[in-house]
Symmetry: C2
Subunit: 172 residues, 2 copies
């Protein structure tokens, strides 16, 4: 009967589940981000939008979905707010009235410039508890678990920044 299963369940430690640890890690990362950037600055997702649109002016929302790993529905909502606050401007693309061409407003650029250093500080605080010698390995493991890279978490260590521009944000 279910007695065996029940015993299994009662001894399972949620704290040993990778998924749970990843969730906790994300809570911590956001906590640092907010602590550094402050309440008035962009949220992490808004920061990603500002950064990507700055680096890629004129990109469409679908382009941004790829670049930011924010799904289309969520991104539409985020942009709705950012456009309302005049951080981002949208114009229909000449030649294709379906797509938008996104760009930063002066306010959006200002906000990005203002938050950038703080966001960098937050990133380094995330890895702070990891001994410096192990940080490249940690980055490689994160990249692997995030679905990038070939699974070798040792050699690829320094390469956390490599493109890996393929299988990322797919779903269906």
């Amino acid at each position: 009967m279910s007695g065996d299963l029940k015993r299994l369940i009662s001894t399972y430690d949620l704290g040993s589940a990778p998924g749970h640890l990843i969730r906790r890690a994300q809570q911590r990362a956001v906590e640092f981000y907010v602590a550094e950037v402050g309440e008035d600055g962009p949220t992490p997702q808004q920061f990603a939008v500002l950064l990507n649109v700055f680096q890629n002016p004129g990109m469409s929302q679908t382009d941004l979905v790829q670049a930011s790993a924010i799904d289309r529905s969520t991104l539409a909502e985020i942009l709705r707010r950012m456009v309302a606050r005049e951080l981002v401007s949208r114009t229909r693309r000449p030649g294709d009235q379906r797509a938008y061409a996104l760009s930063l407003t002066a306010d959006g650029l200002r906000m990005l410039e203002h938050a950038f250093a703080a966001a960098l500080r937050a990133q380094s605080r995330i890895l702070e508890p990891v001994p410096p010698a192990e940080r490249p390995a940690a980055m490689a493991i994160l990249a692997t678990i995030a679905g990038f890279g070939g699974g070798d978490a040792e050699s690829a260590a320094l390469a956390a920044g490599d493109s890996a521009g393929k299988s990322a944000g797919d779903d269906a």
Copy 2:
């Protein structure tokens, strides 16, 4: 002027930010969870609630906030739904009418038992791209980044399952 800053910003790769990788990792983890458990089963958070309440019948919502790392507002909302679906029952604690005593209903227990194996499969899929030999190290690093443990990601490797029952869920 802002020229230097702009150059810095334009060369920054979001993909090399630990926070971004953690976010991606979480998306992937949830993707696997949903794929294994299915649309009808509990969400990851609901699973955590079911598991904790099963292991700790009579616990209060505040207890559960600690155990699950779900904040009080969110947990109230999650429980509202779960109570409405009769997965969890709440009774005011005799002797302290402020707190609830939580327990699983027969349906809640059934759902937990039904989802358990699938949830385990999802957990192992998360680490699948990491070579087996590096998995303990990966768990140790996740625990470290999640804010558990002393920061030594090597010796504690095999201990991913150890209690770690201390500095956990604090915030304010």
